[in-house]
Amino acid sequence: MSKNVEQTIRDLMAIVLNTDAAKIDDGTSMDNTPGWDSANHINLVLALEEEFSISFEVSEFEMMTSYFDVVQTVTAKI
């Protein structure tokens, strides 16, 4: 019924980071994604919280610096 978590995260990141969902993979990180700067990182974190009805600790904000880490952190919470 609902899409799997990874696909939802990928679609969400594509919108927030203004990029193509198909280009997002485990290697996608703040270091190699132009739209993913520190200001936009907060937008991304808040959008994830809303989408999955979860709440992150501030320390987790700073862990989620790549697609892989985002999936890990979100999955651990839902």
């Binding site: 019924m1 609902s2 899409k3 939802t8 679609d11 969400l12 919108i15 927030v16 203004n18 200001a39 907060i42 937008n43 808040l46 959008a47 919280e49 809303e50 989408e51 501030v58 904000f61």
Partner: protein, 643 residues
């Protein structure tokens, strides 16, 4: 509405959202901007999330610069905290409302520098509106963070209040000197917690009472700065609940105190102002009848079977009617578009004891079995308003979809399945909001501009009569009727300068005179080459013996000095003669403010008949010897109802 529709819940967001987003994108690619705006509005109603705001923002960013349906609107955001997380929501809701929002965002804490320095980025940006968003924690630590320190010191907060008033007043004035844009200033919200605990209200200057006093001071400080308005931020926080509104984590981490989920609320609150300031407020509400004004179907259930009254669900429909009636009282035009037998519907209005709405509240009715989109078109045509100013509320999804498809510029409110949610569906967006409750106030910016233009013209044209002629004035003189009653009463309540007697009347008092054939009650509207000033004058006069006696004659200050009063007296001369009355009489009650009207009678060759010790004078004009003529530079409008 059918049972199958009634039973259906909103589909899960996971299924509906991407489809909705794809639909919006497709509409924009096809150039169907109004359709995209409609769908975006639905998307944000169903799922007002940061993700959807971002999605819409990116679509807007990708649009060409000259999309006819989107008016550019430049918003300066000055805040004592990090407010930039609202940008996506602001741009997204702007799109829904036909605005293409451009934002100027200096860093937080730059308020003083930006507003006081005429060379600042704020003024270089040339905003259409500026918002001054303050949080007490940042702006007034004495009353917030440091409250207990100050309380313990015994110094008192009187000086803080005075300084706050002076500071906000001088910021607003500094802004006004350099920039003509409206200025919206947040008032102060209470924090979640009183620092003195439950003892707060026992303190001579506790936080609860101090915030009330500060907000009152703010209102006063802005009162004499043109187009400086208070945004009721405190009310917004209160409605959401401060523990929902604020996110302590984000305040401490990013100096962004407002919870992410609340930013849409704040953006929508701004939209109420933006719509009103840009003339995008809705003017007319068209409602369905069955399952909208009452529960059930009158043609099937009969007058005793429909749900309307003190018990649920009838109580929910009474409450909805009350909300619709409130809109009527605020000047919104009401109309009906219903598929029904007209006689069945009429009987509910005349015979049902719990109907709050009456037929006379509705300017237009379309009760038949034809398509609702056609009904709406006819309503718009007869009212002479654009379809984009119409809101259509109906419980039936099929009717809503039909109107959306045929008339995408109409704002459609699909009433939810549960009638207790109707009022929220109608009122949540504030679609009909105006800056003040008078239409003239709402257009003040434009009117000031008009006046400035006409003043500059007055300087340009040497001869005063040439000036009057160049104004190209058209008068609309009409008996007070249901549509103008509120405005007429309001003018008697508000006008202090050009007002012979300064007697204030309620709507009911004016209405009572409409029923009396001896009374004449008229409104005067003036349109000129700069636009329509709306109703600007009221005259009430009573036939007594052989004379027509002026009870009230007033003019809004906006049109003083244009001989409109002469035309009003000329009209009264006509009216007196038409009734076979040979005299026109009136009285002047001098007040501190009504200096402009003092010489009215004298200028028009009335003779003074008496004067009492208080200075009230009685004047008369013998119409057999001479009358007041209407100046030749006025045209008389063909349609006296147009305002």
């Amino acid at each position: 509405m059918t049972e199958s529709n009634a039973g259906k819940e909103t589909p899960g967001k996971a299924a509906a959202e991407p489809d909705r987003r794809a639909g919006i994108r497709a509409s924009l690619e096809a150039g169907a901007v109004p359709m995209a705006m409609q769908d975006a509005r639905l998307l944000l109603r169903e799922q007002p999330s940061a993700l959807n705001y971002r999605f819409l923002r990116q679509l807007v960013d990708a649009l060409p610069h000259d999309v006819a349906e989107l008016k550019p609107y430049r918003v300066a955001l000055l805040a004592s905290f990090s407010i930039e997380f609202i940008h996506d929501a602001l741009i997204a809701f702007g799109f829904v409302n036909g605005l293409r929002i451009h934002i100027y965002q200096p860093g937080f804490g730059q308020i003083n520098q930006e507003m006081l320095d005429p060379g600042s980025g704020l003024y270089a940006f040339a905003p259409d509106v500026a918002i001054l968003a303050i949080e007490g924690e940042d702006w007034l630590p004495e009353v917030y963070t440091d409250f207990m320190d100050v309380e313990a010191s015994g110094v008192g907060l009187g000086a803080v209040v005075t300084r706050f008033g002076e500071q906000m007043g001088s910021l607003a004035r500094a802004f006004r000197v350099t920039c003509a844009a409206p200025l919206l200033v947040h008032n102060l919200a209470l924090a979640c917690r009183r620092r003195a605990g439950i003892a707060d209200l026992r303190l001579p200057q506790g936080q609860v009472n101090m915030v009330v006093e500060l907000n009152h001071t703010l209102t006063q400080a802005l009162a004499d700065v043109v187009e400086a308005r208070v945004v009721d931020y405190a009310g917004l926080v209160n409605a959401a609940g401060s523990s929902n509104w604020y996110d302590t984590r984000m305040r401490l981490y990013a100096k962004a105190p407002i919870a992410n989920a609340m930013l849409g609320q704040l953006a929508q609150e701004y939209m109420r102002y933006f719509r009103a300031l840009r003339g995008l407020s809705k003017k007319c509400l068209v409602v369905d009848l069955d399952n909208t004004l009452w529960g059930g179907v009158i043609g099937e259930d009969g007058i005793d079977g429909i749900q309307l009254g003190p018990n649920y669900p009838g109580s929910a429909f009474v409450e909805f009617q009350r909300a619709v009636l409130d809109l009527y009282r605020r000047g919104v035009i009401l109309a009906i578009a219903s598929k029904n037998n007209a006689a069945d519907a009429d009987a509910v209005f005349t015979d049902h004891q719990f109907m709050l709405l009456r037929k006379e509240h509705f300017a237009e009715t379309e009760i038949h079995w034809e398509r609702k989109s056609d009904s709406l078109k006819r309503i718009a045509q007869r009212l002479n308003i654009g379809l984009e100013h119409i809101v259509f509320a109906d419980d039936n999804p099929a009717e809503c979809a039909q109107v959306r498809r045929e008339l995408p510029v109409v704002t459609v409110i699909q009433l939810p399945r549960r009638p207790e949610l109707y009022v929220d569906a109608l009122c949540a967006e504030g679609l009909f909001d105006t800056i003040t409750l008078s239409a003239e106030d709402r257009r003040r910016g434009q009117l000031y501009q008009q006046r400035a233009q006409s003043e500059s013209m007055r300087v340009g044209s040497g001869n005063i009569e040439d000036y009057y002629r160049d104004l190209d004035m058209e008068l609309h003189i009409a008996p007070v009727d249901a549509s103008s009653l509120a405005r007429a009463a309001q003018l008697t309540q508000k006008t202090s300068q050009f007002n012979l007697t300064t007697v204030r009347y309620s709507e009911a008092e004016v209405a009572a005179r409409l029923a009396d054939p001896n009374w004449l009650a008229i409104t005067v509207g003036v349109r000129d080459r700069f636009g329509d000033n709306g109703i600007v004058g009221v005259v009430m006069a009573q036939a007594r013996d052989d004379r027509l006696d002026i009870d009230t004659l007033l003019l809004s200050c906006r049109v003083i000095g244009r001989t409109v009063e002469t035309a009003m007296l000329a009209h009264l001369c006509d009216a007196a003669l038409a009734r076979g009355l040979g005299k026109l009489t009136g009285r002047l009650i001098p007040t501190a403010k009504n200096i402009p009207v003092r010489d009215l009678f004298e200028r028009h060759n009335f003779s003074k008949q008496s004067e009492d010790p208080a200075g009230t004078t009685i004047w008369g004009l013998d119409l057999e010897r001479g009358r007041v003529e209407r100046p030749t530079w006025f045209k008389i409008a063909a349609d006296p109802r147009s305002q």
